[in-house]
Amino acid sequence: MKSLIYVIIGTFFGIVMYKSEAASWFRIYEMFKFQSFHMFGLMGTALFTGIFLVNYIKRKHSKDVFGNTIKLTPKDKGVKRYLIGGIIFGSGWALIGACPGPMFVLAGAGYIPILIVILGALLGTWVYGLIRHKLPH
């Protein structure tokens, strides 16, 4: 039963991604062309409500369902890995029109070619694991 809640959250997320068209290649292209406010509004409102919510949680030391204080794991300090990794990720995001969430949403929606993308993403993750000691972080 405890597992089911995660499937439900994921299902909800998947529906939101599809219905808001954040999983549409066309919307991502349009965003990078600055030809529509849609995606900026979507991420903007998510961010605005998110900043407000996280601030509230931290100020009130809110507890999760198990009674532990809610913590957001901080990311390690650094610049290079975020900038270089970010640029590489961003170019893939724009080319495919989907990031790791929408990728799976599209698989569920029945677009078979997205499976090649998922395979590529797994390979890319694996290659990173193999050579990460040689990369600037």
Binding site: T11, F26, H38, G101
Partner: protein, 185 residues
Amino acid sequence: MNWIFEPWPWYIAGPLITLTMFSLLYLGKNFGLSSNLRTICTIAGADKSCDFFCFNWKSQYWNLLVMLGAIIGGYIASHYLSKNQIPTLNPKTIENLHSLGFESAGKSYAPQEMFGNNAISSPGVFAILLIGGLLIGFGSRYAGGCTSGHSISGLSNLQLPSLIATIGFFTGGLIMIHFIMPMIF
């Protein structure tokens, strides 16, 4: 209830993404989809090739379930909650895409040229999909997260690394759309 079958506006969907993040925080978890790629690598046996994949993947089992949910959500949304949903794009975008050879712009949810059933019979498209996937997988792990982990979760927490990563995401995206894509299509 008819609104549910229409495209959802950004001001509804944006807060719903935050609700997804909050649900996970309330369960003691952090929102981030790309971690699943590493978990799947580990399950597939990548832990034998390097220590990056040596971790107890069962601790990430919950995230695989979120991913499974996203697949189910895509199925439900496209089959039961949509009447052939087609994004209403800026006419200029459609014009740009037609000139790049994307005839399906304005006529479908995803470009048939890349995601149609016959698309992967073209070696060029197959290569683009594979390379795009490689960039996404490699880049998200190098940057320590993707759009959900950095641009939503991390930025909500006002973290500098997530801001740098998000600037990187947009820099890479702009280079791809404005400079590289006109060369490959």
